[in-house]
């Protein structure tokens, strides 16, 4: 691809939220027809950077120039009108409306004052054809689409703004392998048209395949920007990680004993995961790594009875169980810290105390009095900083909210704690106390199973690492494995470490059913 003109130039972007700097002095340069890969760990500032470009946030300092002119947006629509479209991780689609209606929402073509549905469908058709997409009808309801198809609609919507710049936040996160190919094709089409693309992904394979240039962010700072050709897997991972993790993660508490199996799965599966064999012992902290959409959360939901397993067996402390609901799972001694504390973890309008007692009250109401006595001490030991326990949790910081979530589960005295992204979106100090908590839980004979997108966390905290890919356990790695190894196993690229037995990337059953 010939070197082309710079369409967007950002300089010295800095952004902090309430004293916590999430982005510091970052420069960015997007060229027409080129793909810029933006990589970094979770919390490195990628999303914030994207949101600044999209007009969701405005930077504290720094400038953004579009085709040489300084711009600043206060609303996403302004960014869109200026030619910057963003495809976010969460779909911003109306499930009950058709593909065409979603794409042209707010800009429906009109003739004689009426929405020209025919035109809209033709435009959509053309748009999709132009992107090389077939088999998607403009009139289809979005709800009836697969996630990959929804993703395509999102991208088509972004393109339809005549965007000169499209940023995509992990667009392949929820896609299966073959669906990714479709996306690659679309990106190829777009760059051929001279669109500049900002591409955020954890999948290194993709980064190398798609990107012309790669910018690495770490802790809000720009580590490097260089041509993709000058980097390789190992080097990129080193740049992304680039710090000693051992100091940050506490060691197991002395005297922690790994005991009997606390949780065992044999060939377990539901609509989302399949053939999971897993043994978790008391006193262990086991991490599950895997890309988004690899079925990590769904595995937890299977164990916890949210989407009960339909196949295989499960036992807790040797007793066979099959929880059909979270309630049953909790009774069996499980606890689950959910991925999204606001949507599924807390009742934001209730007080800290009420939230901390939420599970006990729901499942073991008779233990409420005891739990109520324990909560203040528990909250202090978690270092929750709050004015009082009658403060509503909506006014707490993310880290403190997360600690309240932990408190509400600890009051039930579980045998097995499932933690889905336990440190997402919280500050370093809070992270550290959550790590300490995990260790002390293990010391007390609790089994901890953790899902995390942050590789250092998985590697630093886990006694063993399980890696998931495409709804299956792809393998197991020992503590202290390198991030490269984990990533390779998770993405299924290049040489797999000898300790693993990689599952075939495309399970034959899927092929048949599809």
């Amino acid at each position: 691809m010939p070197a082309t003109s710079v369409v967007l130039q950002a300089r010295g972007l800095t952004k902090s939220f309430v004293g916590h700097t999430v982005l510091e002095d970052v420069d960015l340069e997007l060229r027409a027809g080129e793909v810029l890969g933006l990589v970094g760990e979770n919390g490195a500032g990628k999303s914030t950077l994207m949101k600044i470009l999209a007009g969701v946030h405005s930077p504290d300092s720094g400038t953004v120039e579009l085709n040489g002119e300084a711009v600043s947006f206060s609303h996403p629509v302004q960014a869109q009108q200026a030619g910057i479209s963003t495809v976010f991780q969460e779909f911003n689609l109306l499930p009950e409306r058709s593909v065409a209606e979603n794409i042209y929402l707010g800009r429906e073509p009109r003739r004689l004052g009426l929405v020209d549905v025919g035109q809209m469908h033709r435009d959509t058709e053309e748009l999709l054809t132009g992107l090389g997409v077939t088999g998607l009808r403009p009139g289809q309801r979005v709800r009836s689409l697969s996630v990959a198809e929804q993703q395509i609609v999102e991208i088509a919507k972004a393109v339809s703004y005549d965007a000169r710049i499209i940023s995509m936040d992990e667009p392949t996160a929820a896609l299966a392998e073959h669906e990714v190919e479709l996306l690659y094709g679309i990106i190829g089409t777009l760059t051929a048209r001279g669109v500049a693309i900002l591409y955020v992904s954890h999948r290194l394979k993709e980064i190398f395949r798609l990107c012309d240039t790669i910018t690495v962010l770490k802790d809000g700072r720009q580590v490097t920007t260089q041509p993709a050709s000058s980097l390789d897997d190992a080097e990129l991972v080193r740049l992304m990680v680039g710090r000693s993790i051992s100091s940050f993660f506490p060691d197991p508490v002395e005297g922690t004993v790994v005991g009997e199996p606390a949780l065992e799965l044999r060939d377990a599966g539901n609509g989302y995961v399949d053939g999971v064999d897993l043994t978790l012992r008391a006193g262990e902290v086991v991490g599950i790594a895997g890309l988004q959409g690899s079925g990590r959360t769904e595995l937890f939901e299977g164990i916890f009875g949210v989407r009960p397993f339909t196949r295989g067996t499960m036992s807790i402390a040797g007793t066979q169980v099959r929880p059909r609901s979270p309630r049953a799972a909790i009774r069996a001694g499980l606890a689950m810290v959910t991925e999204d504390r606001k949507a599924t973890g807390l009742a934001l309008n209730q007080t800290i105390l009420d939230n901390a007692l939420g599970v006990v009250r729901a499942v073991f109401p008779r233990r409420t009095a005891q739990a109520r006595r324990d909560v203040p001490g528990l909250l202090s030991s978690l270092e929750v900083s709050a004015r009082a326990t009658d403060q509503e949790v909506q006014f707490l910081s993310g880290g403190n909210q997360q600690k309240v979530v932990l408190a509400r589960w600890l009051t039930t005295e579980p045998r097995v704690v499932l933690m889905d992204e336990p440190t997402r979106g919280i500050d370093v100090g809070a992270k550290h106390s959550i790590y300490e908590l995990m260790r002390s839980l293990a010391a007390d004979g609790v089994a901890v199973l953790m899902v995390s997108s942050e590789l250092p966390e998985v590697i630093g905290m886990s006694d063993r690492i399980l890696v998931m890919r495409d709804g299956r356990l792809a393998g197991e790695l020992p503590a202290g494995s390198s991030e490269e190894t984990v990533l390779q196993l998770a993405t299924g690229v290049t040489v797999a470490p000898t300790t693993t037995t990689p599952a075939p990337t495309d399970a034959p059953t899927e092929e048949v059913a599809r």
Partner: protein, 370 residues
């Protein structure tokens, strides 16, 4: 709870988190700033205004009579509160009251021996109606608005059909005493109407119940059903119990109204909307998750005081609707803001991520930084 002993790190000197953000006085003050607290002030203001307009209303006996007759609607509001706070509606309340009134009239009749068994039966009927509302709403997933609307039509029609539209007559006085009788010669108060005692007892019971796991779980379900489900809450049973409480409260209202007003099929007409109005006036959030049960009762008393004031001021009874309409719109508009103001901690230092309460559009609301 023995687990979180952080032996690995020497804990910095921690002070336990206090139970309350403010002293008792401060908390009361903060409470008054919320709509749930403000309704008590509103009721007091209305009472003063009424007494000022006509000093006779300051007579303890008159106040007692007033509170006695407000008991049925206050109890209904308490019942409705449970349903609303769990995020649902109960439109069948008036029909349940009508049913109970007619049942009392027809089944007890002139036989004092039937008072107890029929009362038990009435409460069973109330519980059954609530159970049906709850199950249809939670398990069949029909919106509660529709379920209870259907129940309202069906129950009202059924009772009229079975009884010929009118009750045989008032039940024996022993039964009516529940809603009409009073303890005489009470110091200061002159006398105490039974309905007031029942209201006080039920209000205390309701307050205690809201402090029990059931009540807290109900608030949590109304606030965030998803989170409650994952916390092991049996959502269907919880909400069904709320519906049962609502119908039982309506049944008690009905029993009191038989005493207060006598048997008539139109007793209870429109109670569902009056009760919802009272609950909303009490600052309880439609959609669930917020509000105090006593405020709902206070809302009912404030509403009735308002009507009395209008009577005293010789406002035409036809204009009462208009006043009621204005009041509830204003109350709810203010409430949305009031809860924030009253519950926010003083000083903003701790309110770190208030940026997360989205004021600007934030696509990707659920994830933090990736």
């Amino acid at each position: 709870m023995s687990t979180p002993v952080t032996t690995s790190t020497p804990a910095p000197a921690r002070t336990a988190i206090p139970a309350h953000q403010r002293g008792l006085g401060g908390r009361l003050l903060a409470a008054v700033l919320t709509p749930g607290g403000a309704v008590f002030v509103l009721a007091a203001v209305l009472l003063v205004a009424t007494i000022q307009a006509n000093p006779n209303f300051g007579d303890p006996g008159v106040i007692m009579l007033f509170l006695g007759r407000t008991a049925p609607i206050a109890i209904a509001a308490i019942g409705q509160y449970y349903v609303i706070v769990s995020g649902e509606f109960d439109l069948s309340m008036g029909a349940v009251i009508g049913t109970q009134v007619v049942l009392a009239g027809n089944m007890i009749g002139e036989d004092p021996d039937k008072v107890v068994p029929v009362t038990v039966l009435m409460l069973l009927v109330g519980a059954a109606v609530g159970f049906a509302n709850g199950v249809l709403t939670t398990l069949l997933k029909v919106p509660s608005f529709i379920v209870t609307l259907g129940m309202m039509l069906a129950l009202g029609g059924l009772v009229s059909y079975l009884t010929g539209g009118a009750a045989t007559g008032n039940p024996v006085d022993e039964f009516r005493e529940i809603g009409r009788g009073r303890f005489e010669n009470v110091p200061v108060l002159e006398f105490l109407p039974y309905p007031l005692i029942i209201l006080v007892v039920l209000a205390i019971a309701a307050t205690l119940l809201m402090r029990r796991p059931f009540g807290r779980n109900l608030l949590a379900v109304g606030d965030n059903p998803e989170s409650a489900e994952r916390s092991g809450t049996s959502v269907w049973w919880l909400k069904t119990r709320a519906f049962m409480i609502s119908s039982l409260a309506a049944s008690v209202s009905g029993i009191l109204l038989v005493g207060y007003a006598g048997v008539h099929p139109s007793v209870g007409d429109g109670y569902e909307f009056t009760a919802i109005t009272a609950v909303v006036l009490g600052g309880v959030l439609l959609g669930g998750g917020r509000g105090w049960v006593l405020s709902a009762a206070a809302g009912a008393i404030a509403l009735e005081l308002l009507f009395t004031l209008l009577t005293v001021k010789e406002v035409e009874s036809t204009w009462r609707d208009t006043v009621q309409g204005v009041i509830i719109i204003v109350a709810v508009a203010v409430a949305a803001r009031g809860w924030q103001a009253g519950r926010r901690p003083r000083g903003s230092a701790r309110r770190a991520p208030s940026t997360r309460i989205p004021t600007t559009p934030t696509p990707g609301t659920t994830n933090g930084d990736n």
